[in-house]
Symmetry: C2
Subunit: 298 residues, 2 copies
C-alpha cells in the first residue's frame, strides 16, 4: 500500500482537510465564543477523515480542482462531526470518549453539545453553498440536495433512529443492512458522489460504477466497525470499545459471528474493488483507500 | 386590519403552508416510521406560521411565483420547527407544552426529539435545494447560503448559546439586543429576504429598505414575546407562560420593566412601518403582518 505513495497521499489530504476545516470554522474569539470553541474542539485535531479522503479520491477520477474538493470535504466532515457529537449525548449512546478525548458534552455541557451539533450541520450547508471555486451553480444546487438527503431522515439521521429502535432486537440480515445503509452508508456514498460531481470528468456510466462502489464501501466500513468494536481496545480505537454488546445492539458480529462477519467484509471489499476496476487507473487512490478501510485497525 | 382582507389572506397563507409542509414531510408510513411520525407531529397542525407569512408577504413585493414562495416558506418553517423541538429538550428549556400539545420528547422520547430536530434541519436544506419552480440556480445557491447562515452559530443557534449563557445574568441593553438579533432576528430576517429573492421585482434600494424592516421586525417579534411571556396565560400561549422569569432569563421586561418594554415595542413597530413606507402599496400585506406581530396576544 505504501509502496505506491498512498500513505503520503493520505497524510497530505488529511493535512489539507485539517487546514480547510480550520478556515471554515468560526474563530473561538468571535461571539458566541464558547459555542465556537466547542465547535472547533469537536471537529479539529482528530479523526481519520475517511469521508474527506473519499471526496478527494473520487475527485481524482473526475479531475476536479482540489480547492473545490476541499469545500465538499469540509461539508461532509462537518455533517459527520455533528453526528458524532449528537450520538455521544446521554440520551443517545451516552459516551464520554471520542477520538481519545472527552466528548463535547463532557468537556463542555449537554446544551452546548446539542447546539454544537446543530450549528455544525448548518455550517456544512453554508460551506457547500459558499464559494465553490467557480463551480456551475446548477451542479452546486444538486450537490447541496445530495448532501441534505444523505444527512436526513431517509439517510444518516434515519439510520440513527433505526439503530435506536434496534436495541435488544434480533434483526434479519436485510433489516441490519437497511439500518447500516442509512446510518453510515448514506454519507459515505455522498462523499464519493460529491467528489465525482466536483469535476466534469465522469460520464453517466462511470458514475453508475462509482455509485455501486460507494454502496459496497459504505457497508464495508460499517462491517469493519462492528468487527473492531468487539476485537480492538479502547486505547486503539480512541473511543469506547465493546459498546455494541454493552448496549445490546445488533451488529454483523452478533448476527453472523466474528468469522462470518470477517468473510462478509472480504466479500464487500472484493465487490467494491470490482466496481472500481471498470474505472481504470484514475481510480487507483480510491482502490488504495478501500484497502485501507478494509484493513484498518482503528 | 380585517377590513382590507388581511385576515383572509393570512388564513389562506397559513392553509397553503400547511399543505406544502404536508407534502415535503416524509409520510409516516415510510421507514423509519416512528421518526417520520414524530417529525410530522412536531411541524404540522399548529403554530402561527409567522415566518411563512413573512416569506409570502415579502414575495408580494418581489412579485414572486407563489409556488416558489411555498418552498422558501417550508424551508424557514422547518428550521423554526427544528429549533423549537431542540429548545424544549430537558438539557435546554425542559418544557413539556408546545402549541397546546405535549412537546416531542414528552410525546415520544428524548433521543427521537433530538433526531427529529436534526432531520428537520436537513429537510429544510433539501427542500430549498429541490425544485424551486424554475428559479435561477445562482439565486438558489445564494438563498441556501442565506438560510444556512441565519440558522447557524452566527445566527439562530448562536443566539440560543447566548441565551443559555445569559441565565441569571444582568445584560446590558446592547447584549440583550445582540442575543435576540441572533436568536429570533436572524430567521425572521432570512424569511423576509428569501421571500424577496424568490422574485425579481426588488432592486438594491428596495432590498436595503426590506433589510432594515426585517431587522426591526425581528426584534419587535422578540420584545412582544418577552411581554407575552409575563402577561399572557399558558392556555392562551399554548406554551408554558412565565418561563423567562422561572429560568431567570434576562428579557426586555426584566431589563426595562413592562411599561418601557411596551414603549420599545411601539418604537420598533413604528421603525418597521417606516422602512416599509418607502416600498409603497406593494408592501401592504407586510405592513398588515407587522401590525399583527405587534398586536398579537399569543
Amino acid at each position: 500500500m505504501s509502496s505506491n505513495g498512498y500513505a503520503a497521499w493520505m497524510a497530505q489530504i488529511q493535512q489539507r482537510t485539517e487546514l480547510a476545516l480550520e478556515r471554515v470554522l468560526p474563530p473561538a474569539q468571535i461571539a458566541p465564543q464558547r459555542l465556537h470553541a466547542a465547535m472547533r474542539y469537536a471537529v479539529l485535531g482528530g479523526g481519520k477523515r475517511v469521508r474527506p479522503l473519499l471526496v478527494h479520491a473520487a475527485g481524482l477520477i473526475s479531475q476536479a480542482a482540489p480547492a473545490r474538493l476541499d469545500v465538499a470535504a469540509c461539508a461532509v466532515e462537518l455533517i459527520h462531526g455533528y453526528s458524532l457529537v449528537h450520538d455521544d449525548l446521554p440520551c443517545m449512546d451516552d459516551d464520554s470518549l471520542r477520538r481519545g478525548k472527552p466528548t463535547v458534552h463532557v468537556e463542555y455541557d449537554e446544551a452546548t453539545a446539542l447546539l454544537v451539533g446543530d450549528a455544525l450541520q448548518s455550517l456544512a450547508f453554508q460551506v457547500l453553498a459558499g464559494d465553490l471555486a467557480g463551480a456551475d451553480a446548477a451542479a452546486q444546487v444538486s450537490m447541496l440536495h445530495l448532501l441534505a438527503q444523505a444527512a436526513g431522515s431517509r439517510g444518516m439521521a434515519g439510520g440513527q433512529a433505526l439503530d435506536l429502535a434496534s436495541v435488544g432486537q434480533t434483526l434479519s440480515p436485510e433489516d441490519l443492512e437497511f439500518m447500516h445503509v442509512h446510518k453510515t452508508g448514506a454519507l459515505i456514498r455522498a462523499s464519493v458522489l460529491l467528489g465525482a460531481r466536483c469535476g466534469e470528468g465522469v460520464d453517466a456510466a462511470a458514475l453508475a460504477h462509482l455509485d455501486r462502489y460507494a454502496c459496497a464501501a459504505g457497508l464495508l466500513f460499517q462491517v469493519v466497525d462492528d468487527i473492531l468494536d468487539c476485537s480492538a481496545s479502547t486505547a486503539t480505537l480512541g473511543k469506547t470499545a465493546g459498546k455494541d454488546q454493552l448496549h445490546d445492539k445488533p451488529t454483523y458480529v452478533s448476527l453472523l459471528g466474528l468469522a462470518r462477519a470477517r468473510e462478509f467484509a472480504a466479500e464487500l471489499h472484493a465487490r467494491a474493488r470490482e466496481s472500481l476496476a471498470a474505472l481504470g487507473g484514475r481510480a487507483e487512490r480510491l482502490a488504495d483507500l478501500t484497502d485501507f478501510i478494509a484493513r484498518r485497525e482503528f
